[in-house]
Symmetry: C2
Subunit: 197 residues, 2 copies
């Protein structure tokens, strides 16, 4: 990244979907294992009681002055209410990664929609790792944090008993993302087009 | 709190001391169960590889414009290196809560020094819950988040198998803090005195 360039991500989902854990893991992978400056933030407002949650990550090679998202380079949406609520701040050249299991409508064509929860249930036998499946996909799409770093951070944050399951979940998500042709997405969405969708 | 008043906290410790989990739990207790606006932030810089970690929480009744700590109202230090590294930004009327097990020298007389890790080991049989013991004490010292809210957040964040242990840890920490006479602390430390210590 160029000097002062920031890469900004937001993860959104319901309270039980493990958004914050996924964000903490990504932040540790980027900050501890890849050497980025990282700020990872949870914000709760009056809407927090509704069960929606969001977590944000800003990474940079420089010190980070403002730790919250200004414009999203990547938005992970684990369900439709979180997608609708937190899509603001999406950059024209940003990318949306959404869980097809719980998302029907995407407001941009720069979207990678994969069934994270279905993969977690069917390939891994446990819906609770859908967040880590999604994290594997996010790692591939973002391209700034290696899978090995994500593995280390997963192993640090998850109880030993569940480490192997979560590592497999991470790889399943990465594999699902790699099978998509990201270069086929439109490179840039102008705001008029976005409004029409 | 008055309009726009912020209450700012920082938790610091080594990588394995569970600082971030404690901060996420406190933030959920304050944001989801007590209805505050809350921003909870982890920052990683070049020093992250050294194993130190810090987490910050800002709570307010108003929307929070800047999510990081400007001046600490409460600083939880789980070991000496974290205390030394992150004591900057301590407010004159702030309060330091430190783990006596791993802290020898406190740079302010506005300090509550309790052996969180020793309590975790001896009363609860598991050093790994020292962070939750500390969290119980922090809840009492801070005074803005009820123990019931902390309990709910602990139960949400900790694997079911360990919920009871962690709830007991929370209460042990709260009890240890309640036995101290906080009103006996000097109300305000001026910066000259702080420098001399």
């Amino acid at each position: 990244m160029m000097k002062e360039e920031r890469y900004e991500m937001r993860f959104g989902g319901s309270g039980g979907q493990g958004i914050i854990l996924a964000a903490v893991i990504f932040a540790e992978a980027a900050g501890i294992h890849e050497g980025f400056h990282v700020c990872q933030t949870q914000s709760y407002g009056p809407e927090a009681r509704g069960g929606r949650s969001k977590a944000e990550i800003v990474i940079s090679h420089e010190e980070i002055d403002y730790p919250k998202v200004i414009g999203m380079d990547l938005f992970l949406a684990m369900n439709q209410p979180a997608l609708d609520a937190y899509f603001v701040d999406f950059k024209p050249a940003g990318i949306l990664v959404a869980d097809a299991t719980f998302v029907d409508q995407v407001p941009t064509s720069r979207a990678l929609v994969l069934p994270f929860t279905t993969i977690a249930r069917e390939k891994l036998g446990n819906e609770l790792v859908a967040n880590i499946v999604a994290l594997g996909a996010v790692g591939v799409v973002c391209g700034k944090v290696g899978l090995a770093s994500l593995e280390k951070a997963v192993a640090h944050r998850v109880p030993a008993k569940f480490t192997e399951l979560n590592i497999r979940a991470l790889h399943a998500g990465a594999e699902a993302a790699r099978q998509q042709d990201l270069s086929a997405l439109p490179p840039f969405i102008d705001s008029d087009e976005e409004k029409e969708v």
